[in-house]
């Protein structure tokens, strides 16, 4: 019958077709002289002002290069970029949303070596550059570095007569949270709000105890979990179950005055400034250092950088590198600092340009003082898998279904047996 032949040829054609697109050979690098259009992948272009600020500033300095943003929805950004690259896409500059994505693309050889760009700027000036090091060179340049701070509501503190939270330890943090919780039902104000991301517990524990989230040994998380669960059980923080299932927005909790304190990343500075500007809130806010294990030591917190990289398939690699250099250098840093985004490049001028920060001493100190910023999740080929497992067990701990030690044991077993063996 004709059918088997049909089927076989269909399959062969299918396989052939499916695989023609993925040669991924590093293609032509020629740059023409004269005006160049650079395509840059971004997310939610209209709603994310940092891109526009960067592009405008860059085009002003380099009138012969026009930037064409490739707008991708933030929600599924990584998935789309993966798909595009699978099809041999030629977008010149790719924004690396997080270090895990970067690791994936860099390890597969999809990015251009930009070590020269980093050297020109000076690696020591770029906060958060270390995770991008691969094989003695760099394949992306960070333009932005976010880290975690403690946001607090000055009005609530003042009303309760409590000193603003300067250099707290975790015990002090728990005490204050207890004191600042008031009311119940509709008018309840929580002492603090811990968002439901696992990083809120796991990454800070890893950073401050020196634990490694990829290692498969997670005993270091015990204390932080105990603390967080205790806050929730006693009603000083909103319970995880409600927060997660109803997708509570951390912005809502803080801006409507429902939480006196909130650990969160520096990206929120621009957000809260915008809310105040549009009149959506009038919260009297400030930032302080993340609570530490012990007092009197250097502040340790966690964070993650955002970077630009050059696509191996790009036909304007020289121009792309020019853009990378601009974005990661002082010029680019000043452009985004002006709208409240924390750049990777550090200098006094840049800090001066960062006007979104409240001007009180504590906020300035918390923001500027030298600190140890540990990467939110270590870079490794296992990051993504480990992250899924950690997410799942975090869920079970926080809804109260697993004891902390049982869950930690399970995490260790799963990571060691399912992931690290591969």
């Amino acid at each position: 019958m004709k059918r088997p032949i049909l089927t076989i040829s269909a399959i062969a054609a299918a396989a052939g077709l499916a695989l023609t697109g993925c040669s991924g050979a590093g293609s032509a690098q020629q740059d023409e002289d004269g005006p160049v259009t650079l395509s840059v992948s971004v997310w939610n272009y209209d709603q994310t002002p940092e891109f526009k600020a960067l592009f405008d500033a860059f085009e002003a300095e380099h009138p012969d290069i026009t930037i064409e943003p490739v707008d991708i929805l933030a929600d599924d950004y990584s998935d789309k970029v993966t798909t595009m690259l699978a099809g041999g896409d030629k977008t010149d500059v790719l924004t690396m949303k997080n270090v895990t994505d970067y690791a994936r693309y860099a390890n597969r050889g999809q990015l251009v070596d930009v070590g020269d760009v980093v050297d020109d700027i000076g690696a020591d000036k770029l906060a958060g550059i270390e995770p991008f090091a691969l094989d003695d060179t760099y394949y992306a340049a960070p333009y932005r570095q976010d880290f975690w701070l403690l946001y607090y509501n000055k009005a609530i503190f003042d009303a309760a007569g409590i000193e603003h939270p300067d250099n707290l330890t975790w015990d002090e943090y728990a005490d204050i949270a207890a004191k600042l919780t008031s009311g119940d039902g509709d008018s309840k104000v929580y002492g603090t709000y811990n968002h439901y991301w696992r990083s809120v517990v796991q990454s800070i524990a890893a950073a401050q105890t020196g634990g490694d989230l990829i290692s498969g040994d997670y005993g270091f998380m015990q204390d932080q979990y105990d603390l967080t669960l205790d806050l929730q059980d006693k009603g000083y923080a909103l319970d995880y179950g409600t927060a997660k299932t109803q997708q509570i927005s951390y912005r809502t909790m803080f801006e409507t005055g429902k939480a006196a304190m909130m650990p969160m990343g520096t990206w929120y500075i621009a957000g809260i400034a915008q809310s105040i500007e549009t009149g959506a809130t009038d919260v009297d806010w400030g930032v302080a250092q993340m609570p530490q294990l012990e007092s009197g030591e250097e502040t340790v917190t966690f964070g993650s950088p955002t970077a630009f990289a050059v696509n191996k398939n790009s036909t304007h690699q020289a121009a792309a590198k020019t853009f990378l250099e601009f974005a990661a250098s002082e010029a680019g840093a000043k452009a985004i600092a002006a709208i409240g985004v924390v750049p990777a490049y550090q200098s006094d001028d840049v800090t001066a340009a960062f006007t979104a920060l409240p001007t009180d001493d504590l906020s300035v100190k918390a923001f500027q003082e030298p600190k140890d910023v540990v990467l939110e999740m270590p870079v490794s080929e296992y990051s993504s898998d480990v992250s899924s497992i950690l997410d799942e067990e975090h869920d079970l701990i926080m809804v109260g279904e697993s004891d902390v030690d049982d869950a930690i044991t399970k995490m260790q077993d799963r990571v060691k047996n399912d992931v690290l063996v591969d």
């Binding site: 399959i11 998935d79 597969r108 999809q110 997660k244 799942e392 079970l396």
Partner: protein, 302 residues
């Protein structure tokens, strides 16, 4: 009454061939589009199930390694169990609900048009809204469902989406609520094909409502029910959007389903070979179901 086929003539081979040609000509426009755009990538995906591929580097042949991995993978078995659990709950409840609604609304009563539209609303409401509101309703401490349960004397009401044991029932309830309007539309169309005269004659004969329902409605609806059953089964095994938005697969992995695993292994972890292998397994499961249903249907038609 000899109206059916031309009398007593064996079908010549040319007639058979002509029939086949004409038959194929009907099918071809749809089939070609489908074959080119969907069937070929699907076959490619099934071939990839025997390879290791990250969507960028050249693929390498690994034979049955992906399937061996599947056997060892705890997440796969959990997802398979959850998917079966979801299907077992979702399929009968949705069919009953949508049939019930269709019967209720299959009248020429004034204003029923509004109600029919209302039943369809859950399906067109934004999925985010659906997930959030149902999560609110299911909130173990503050939600109205548990408050009602406590009112009627249930001592320890379930944790719903915050508990591993009760998350899946919560999802099933939500999805039945959402889908019943969709399949109601299909049943309404099916009910139109039943000639009114059948019912009238039965009434004349003295059959009561239940007998009319059982002896006329149900048998006449068989083609529609077959269709709805297959579609609900397939949709249940493929469920993705609602789970992702409502529970994300959690708490833990208690609502993790196969489509989610396929997506995660493929698009997120870039293990396309493995994710294609899981898709192949899913396909085979549903294929078996479909064939069984088809055979049962054919037997009834005889």
């Amino acid at each position: 009454m000899a109206i059916a086929a031309p009398p007593q003539r064996t079908r010549s081979s040319s007639r058979v061939r002509r029939n086949a040609l004409v038959g194929w000509s009907f099918i071809l426009p749809n089939f070609i589009g489908f074959a080119l755009l969907t069937l070929i990538p699907m076959c490619a995906a099934f071939v990839i199930a025997f390879m290791k591929w990250d969507s960028y580097s050249p693929p390498e042949w690994v034979g049955f390694a992906n399937f061996a991995r599947m056997m060892r993978d705890e997440s796969f078995w959990i997802a398979l169990g959850n998917t079966a659990y979801y299907a077992a709950g979702h399929i009968p409840l949705t069919i009953l609900a949508s049939l019930g609604l269709a019967l209720l609304l299959n009248r020429k009563l004034r204003g029923l048009g509004f109600f029919r539209t209302a039943m369809f609303f859950p399906y067109i409401t934004s999925l985010v809204a659906v997930a959030v509101v149902w999560n609110m309703l299911f909130n173990p401490t503050a939600g109205p469902i548990n408050q009602f349960l406590e009112l009627i004397g249930v001592a320890d009401p379930p944790g719903w989406t915050t508990s591993s044991a009760w998350a899946m029932p919560a999802v099933i309830i939500t999805s039945v609520w959402r889908d019943m309007g969709y399949y109601m539309v299909l049943y309404l169309a099916g009910l139109q094909a039943i000639p009114q005269e059948y019912y009238e004659a039965a009434e004349v004969d003295g059959a009561n409502a239940w007998q009319r329902f059982w002896n006329i409605t149900i048998p006449s609806l068989r083609p529609t029910t077959f269709f709805v059953l297959i579609m609900v089964t397939i949709a249940s095994f493929k469920v993705f959007d609602l789970i992702v938005v409502m529970t994300g697969g959690g708490p833990g992995r208690s609502t993790l389903v196969l489509s989610q695993l396929i997506y995660r292994e493929g698009i997120t972890e870039n293990r396309f070979g493995y994710s294609s292998a899981i898709s192949l397994v899913l396909f085979v499961i549903v294929l078996v179901f479909t064939v069984v249903q088809f055979k049962l249907q054919q037997r009834k038609e005889r």
